[in-house]
Symmetry: C2
Subunit: 232 residues, 2 copies
């Protein structure tokens, strides 16, 4: 369980078997709140570990430091819909209401900063900038959900995969190459497809020279415009 180097004043504590660190909020934590007095705790979650469950009280708000997180809903028979993938820098678990609407799990080993929801609420009550930021974060999630409804309701399998590749390319490509943290089943459950259909679409794009593989999860896009055209 590797942890990112923290502020030297950080106090490391052991909670529930996970390594935690308290640290004063600095500019590096700006994404959640630039507000003096807020304390962030850093946690490490192992691959496939649950971070919180659906309908669980929303005690904390999270920011991914490293790793990746999936949020999802389940039907009673196990069918799963992944609502979003959260990557480095992303905030997740922010709720206006009392409980989490989706469950969250680490896709791979993940470090996250936590702040108490209550302290954010308090900060928002005195600092308009904080309140505005919380609203903007929720609005950003809503925008993503609206785009995703169009994908799930109306796009073909190939269009869904093309959209997914462009999204991931934008969010995690380094030097034109992306290293996907999630498996084909996760991608399928995000796109409303089976893992086999995802695999077939990727194989077809590979055969057409639109993407290159170096390992199943290392992908380089070779014809982005072609993907944009097919994403409808």
């Amino acid at each position: 369980m590797l942890m990112q180097t923290l502020n030297t004043q950080a106090i490391n504590t052991q909670i529930g078997g996970k390594i935690a660190s308290s640290l004063p909020v600095s500019d590096q934590f700006g994404a959640i709140a630039r507000h003096v007095g807020l304390v962030a705790t850093e946690f490490t979650y192992r691959k496939d570990e649950e971070i919180y469950g659906e309908d669980e009280p929303a005690e904390y708000v999270y920011q991914v430091v490293s790793g990746a997180v999936r949020t999802y809903k389940l039907l009673s028979d196990g069918r799963r819909q992944i609502g979003a993938f959260h990557l480095s820098g992303d905030v997740f678990g922010l709720e206006s209401g009392a409980s989490h609407r989706l469950a969250a799990e680490a896709i791979i080993d993940t470090n996250a900063r936590l702040v108490k929801r209550a302290s954010l609420e308090r900060a928002a009550g005195t600092d308009v900038q904080v309140a505005r930021k919380l609203w903007a974060l929720t609005a950003g999630e809503l925008r993503h959900a609206e785009d995703h409804m169009l994908l799930l309701g109306r796009k073909t399998a190939m269009e869904r995969v093309a959209t997914f590749l462009l999204e991931m390319d934008r969010r995690l490509a380094v030097a034109g190459m992306m290293a996907l943290p999630m498996c084909r089943r996760d991608i399928g459950d995000y796109l409303g497809l089976t893992l086999e259909t995802v695999s077939r679409a990727l194989s077809q794009l590979h055969a057409q020279g639109i993407l290159g593989f170096s390992g199943a999860r290392q992908i380089v896009l070779r014809k982005r415009q072609h993907l944009r055209d097919m994403d409808a």
Copy 2:
């Protein structure tokens, strides 16, 4: 174009061919903002009239007074995904960013109150309660979108229709009967199905005695628990 009785101090004006009325905000406008000084304008939209377009600057926030509104996204070839139906009392068109993410149209003749986005923003800057309310409204839309992603990505046609019926029953049933304002095509574009599939599902539920018709859009649910069971 019938209009609801307004405050006697209201000033009626004619704008762009539509009847508009300015009125001081009172408690009846609480859903958008209980903030002195905000002015709401009332507009009437005819059936199928566009209220705003996708990506159009978000100048106003709307509240349905009477009627019904659909918000939707289109793909280039005309495929449409309806994101939500807005009924009496619902707020729509609220954006944290600069532009509308979905287009909006009146489903039937509709009256709506409008307030300038800028004045809401101003109010939110001074009144924490207003800021909190705006956030809660956006969070409520997000919750609906998250539920709907699960429906679109993972539910069967029958499960989608059952979910739809329960949602509409909850939102617009009067004396156990609901009068749907939207046509089968709208329902299909909301549920990610074709209008034929929606019609077949409703016919099957009718044949099973789970619902009764009095006209294609007048529906009474006879076995709500049965619908809840099939909505997975």
